[in-house]
Symmetry: C2
Subunit: 246 residues, 2 copies
């Protein structure tokens, strides 16, 4: 069995998320269907990030094992793209060490959230950004974002009902860029809890709207209680930007 | 009768173009349907540019006359956007002089064509740019673009079969921007013939591919013969960017 990895870009609009689900269009499902045509056995793929319905990827990394691919590694993107729908593109392929695992081997992932600010929604960003009509206090959002950097218990930002061993994660960086009408918030961490980025963005937007302050964020982190947090923002602004491995 | 104008943005992907056609989704059709709900009479709108199927607008200007709008001018965008599909947004409204006509009063229009250059098609630009896999000679394209600026007979760049009084137009500026993977060519003229921008882009791309040179462009202009020109490029890269009035 050889281990392979693929870099995959997709627009999530038409999909029920990355993870395979019966009778639903999913990224994993489309990739496995396409790979089945290039291999002699059934192939299961693993994604670095399990993106939700409507979430996009610029740099999802997917790994899988196979003993019988009918196509050389370097040709995989071309062969797969002929079989995949236009909103999913494989843009890179590599052989990796046997024990490589797209999710477990990842050292760091970066997600970006996009916000379009203007008096009217923008037709070209409607699938790729959250529309915010009112001005936001970006310098204050940036100040408060620093409270969310470090090795912290992010329980208050995990979707309620998710079961994980620990809700502690190391947030390495949060970068805000608010020049022009398209604003971005970029999160880099060793891992993310379910809906964590969209919950963090909800809280930072409430900071920008002067509804939440630094003390509220400190209290929220200490509480570990998702019910005290801000609303989860819409998925269409979220992009899995890149994944870093050793 | 009062004369109004609207600034309209739209993604052309789902439409058979601006101009109304029976049993086809068109921008004009959607605007007139929405306006019918805000007026006491049937309203016909005129667009500054008759964009084709799949062509987008960031700054289309539309004018119409009405004696009985039920909404104040400043509220028109909000009222219309509630009635329009999400891929059409009215982003401005004004009262104008009685004889204002979005198409005939226009002094200058600017169209932009977008080209995405990379080894694989980009899922996020697939509706908004032409994908070009190979490198293009952009400095040579820019040199040749200067031959197309001025008051010239653009007959060789007009779709065959179009009937207009004159095929002479004044091209005020052609700007090429080729930094990064998304390249743009921007055309500003006093008017454009049918499919002229997409035919000009086809010729400039052939310059970038070293298939066409300056002498060929001079000969093409002199011939006035569309059949000697390059292929018309796909509509999804084309944006009506802005319209200038006195």
């Amino acid at each position: 069995m050889d281990t392979y990895c693929l870099k995959v870009q997709y627009e999530g609009t038409a999909y029920s998320g990355f993870q395979i689900q019966p009778d639903q269009p999913t990224i994993q499902g489309k990739l496995e269907e396409a790979l089945a045509k290039l291999a002699t056995e059934r192939i299961r793929v693993v994604g670095a990030g399990r993106t939700d319905a409507g979430v996009h990827s610029e740099g999802q990394i997917v790994s899988f094992r196979s003993s019988g691919l009918t196509v050389p590694t370097a040709k995989l993107p071309y062969a797969l793209n002929r079989l995949l729908p236009g909103d999913i593109r494989v843009v890179g392929s590599e052989r990796r060490a046997k024990n490589f695992h797209a999710q477990r081997s990842a050292l760091e992932k970066t997600y970006r959230y996009q916000i379009y600010q203007g008096p009217f929604p923008n037709v070209f960003w409607r699938r790729y950004a959250l529309w915010e009509r009112n001005d936001l206090n970006w310098p204050e959002m940036e100040r408060c974002s620093r409270l969310l950097v470090g090795t912290l218990d992010f329980a208050a930002f995990a979707a309620s009902g998710s079961s994980v061993k620990t809700t502690v994660r190391s947030m390495h960086q949060i970068e805000l860029d608010w020049e022009g009408p398209l604003k971005t918030i970029r999160f880099t961490a060793d891992g993310f809890l379910y809906k964590m980025v969209r919950n963090l963005v909800g809280t930072l937007l409430d900071v920008g709207r002067c509804k939440v302050g630094a003390k509220d964020i400190e209290a929220l982190l200490a509480s570990g209680d998702r019910r005290l947090g801000s609303a989860t923002v819409a998925p269409q602004g979220l992009f899995l930007e890149s994944v870093r491995y050793a």
